[in-house]
């Protein structure tokens, strides 16, 4: 199997505080990588670097063998689901999706037969975003990340503040995406989301190290 993601020796800092200290890992096509760690350990910073929102101080990121020096490559190769939902609350779900999809036809197709249909967005497409529940918003966020069907999906704590039914729906969706040879990097400290992961990394004070994916509960948190 070939590596879809190659992350080499990434460092990043906020002022004098170094947040990522030489982070490296790889992910194969169709693989789900879990990154666990305590709050403030650097998970979100790593996801921002992988998504091209933040430039690393040093180190490289490759997607599908392409070096990610500019945002265009990152944009083509990745979909990013940040912790907060990237939505305009005063507009409808359709308008929000329309911003990210290249044309109406593609969006309509996705809503009828594609991943957006799988996410069940069609049922509330005309609603204003500020009238949606947290779970609905998260689905729209995933729908936005999936615009252009990128081969890599980066998710930063997707299950935070969601009820069990929503988490289960999202898990099913991710399984489908992985089955379509998509690659997922998921930053979380929720055990239910770790069940999807093929490999697990733990981040502690900006350092990433591999861990046993079957670890749960205190055995896992002891590593944080």
């Amino acid at each position: 199997m070939d590596n879809m993601i190659i992350v080499s020796d990434i460092t990043s800092s906020y002022g004098r505080k170094q947040v990522l200290k030489g982070v490296s890992f790889t992910a194969e096509r169709g693989e789900c990588i879990g990154i666990a760690g305590a709050n403030g350990c650097g998970k979100t910073t790593l996801m921002s670097v992988l998504a091209g929102v933040r430039r690393p101080k040093s180190g490289t990121v490759q997607y599908g063998g392409r070096m990610c020096r500019d945002r265009r490559v990152i944009r083509e190769m990745t979909g990013y689901v940040p912790q907060e939902d990237p939505l305009i609350p005063e507009l409808s779900v359709y308008d929000n999706l329309r911003l990210w999809y290249p044309d109406r036809k593609t969006l309509r197709q996705e809503l009828e037969h594609g991943f957006l249909n799988m996410l069940g967005i069609d049922g509330f497409i005309g609603k204003r975003v500020d009238k949606l529940s947290g779970g609905m918003k998260k689905r729209v966020s995933i729908g936005i990340a999936m615009a252009g069907t990128p081969p890599v999906l980066l998710m930063d704590e997707p299950g935070a503040a969601l009820d069990l039914i929503c988490k289960e729906d999202i898990r099913k969706y991710l399984q489908a995406y992985l089955a379509h040879q998509g690659t997922v990097v998921i930053a979380t400290h929720e055990e239910s989301e770790l069940a999807l992961c093929d490999r697990l990394y733990v981040m502690k004070s900006g350092v990433l190290f591999p861990a046993d994916k079957t670890l749960r509960g205190e055995a896992l948190t002891a590593l944080f």
Binding site: V53, R71, R75, P82, D85, P86, E90, R98, L99
Partner: protein, 426 residues
């Protein structure tokens, strides 16, 4: 580019959706500001102050003829409107002059009436205080003008006398002198020609209504900025990050929000002008009980209807757009710096009100301390008020250029600052 345009379209769509709510807030503001402006105008309206000061007259010789001559001069309409003569001794007069009780001391020499009659013309001394006030300056000018008129009249009489002697026409000399005097008094030496009617106003070149229409418009636009928060607020960081990673950076995000703000401000300004015009038209008689009030309302309505005509079409449109753009950019910068409505809305209210006050928009700047005048004159609101005044009442090309330069510079600075604040957060 397609995504950028789509983002701009969505911002416009969002703005259109929330505009009715903002409009309601703006109407509320307009009502409050309208009341303040109305009270301000009513409070400022006064009868013009009459300048009537005391002039000391020291007579070295107290004769009946002198008293008659003084009474005649004092009761002349042109003199009695300006000053009142107080007969004093020379020493007393000089003391009163020092104390500021009189504005000038006229010292009349002995035999002055006889001197005038026999042509020896003894000179009259007029003493002014070292620190002349407005009244003293006025009297000095009056005396100088009178002196010049008398010089001309005397030159005519003496010239005519010399000519009559030269050509042997002395028989008709007395008739000729009488006719010259009559002609001078009738045509050339009109005493009222000494006075040049000049309106002095605390609001400068603008009338009171024009002044408050100009400063009220600027204040309204600034305060309407508070209603613009939903349009100009920062989007969630996740959203702006997502946009930035897709190539729609801080500059375009700023431009889109700014453009929506400008469009809203234009609608607010249009609504303000239309409301004031309709209100004045409907309530000319009812709202303003007096004929003068109704006339002022009619005049202001006419000026509003013809606003901009005095500057010329393109210049007026450009100036109006620049006023709106400058105010919107200022508001945008404040929201960008504040980061939230909780901090931004009070900041706009306080800064807006303070700047308008310092620039003499609430109380005319002549009533403010000199240091405040100097500071206020450099503030953006000073240029905005002047430009708005120019739209209503017209202004010189130099003033217009100065206003356009000032507003453009401030707009550029505010825009750059807003962009930097937003960029820092993207």
């Amino acid at each position: 580019m397609k995504r950028k345009l789509r983002y701009l379209y969505l911002e416009l769509k969002k703005t259109a959706g929330i505009f009715p709510r903002m409009l309601l807030q703006a109407i509320l503001l307009m009502a409050i500001i309208g009341m303040i402006a109305f009270c301000g105008v009513k409070g400022m309206e006064r009868e013009p102050l009459a300048v009537r000061a005391d002039v000391g007259v020291a007579v070295r010789e107290d004769s009946r003829m002198m008293r008659l001559a003084l009474a005649y001069v004092e009761n002349m309409e042109s003199v009695s409107e300006v000053c009142r003569f107080v007969q004093v001794s020379e020493e007393e007069g000089r003391r009163m002059l020092k104390q500021g009780k009189i504005i000038a001391l006229v010292i009349l020499p002995e035999q002055i009436v006889e001197g005038i009659l026999n042509g020896s013309n003894p000179s009259v001394d007029i003493v002014f205080p070292s620190n002349s006030g407005l009244e003293a300056m006025l009297f000095r000018e009056l005396a100088k003008s009178g002196e010049r008129l008398l010089q001309v009249a005397q030159a005519q009489i003496y010239g005519a006398g010399d000519m009559a002697e030269k050509y042997g026409l002395t028989d008709g000399l007395s008739v000729m002198e009488t006719e010259i005097d009559s002609s001078n008094l009738a045509f050339a030496l009109d005493r009222f020609a000494l006075y040049d009617t000049k309106m002095l106003s605390a609001t400068g070149r603008l009338g009171l209504w024009q002044f408050y229409a100009a400063s009220g418009t600027v204040l309204f636009l600034l305060m309407a900025g508070m209603a613009l928060y939903p349009v100009m607020q920062k989007e969630p960081k996740a959203f702006t990050d997502q946009l930035a990673r897709c190539g729609t950076g801080a500059a375009w995000q700023c431009f889109s929000k700014w453009l929506c703000g400008v469009l809203c401000m234009l609608l607010f300004a249009g609504m303000l002008c239309l409301s004031v015009y309709l209100l004045l038209a409907a309530g000319e008689k009812k709202l303003f009980r007096t004929e003068e009030g109704a006339a002022a309302a009619w005049q202001l309505r006419s000026e509003l209807a013809g606003a901009g005509n005095r500057l010329g079409g393109m210049a007026a449109v450009g100036t109006a757009l620049l006023i709106v753009a400058a105010v919107t950019t200022f508001v945008f910068m404040i929201y960008s710096a504040a980061g939230s409505g909780t901090a931004g809305i009070p900041a706009i209210f306080l800064l807006g009100a303070a700047m308008v006050y310092l620039s003499g928009g609430l109380v005319p700047d002549v009533f403010l301390p000199r240091i405040v005048q100097e500071i206020g004159d450099k503030l953006p609101t000073a240029y905005l008020i002047r430009a708005a005044g120019g739209l209503i009442a017209g202004c010189s090309g130099g003033t217009l250029r100065q206003c356009i330069g000032g507003m453009s510079a401030y707009t550029a600075v505010f825009g750059a600052a807003a962009w930097l604040f937003r960029k820092r957060s993207v």
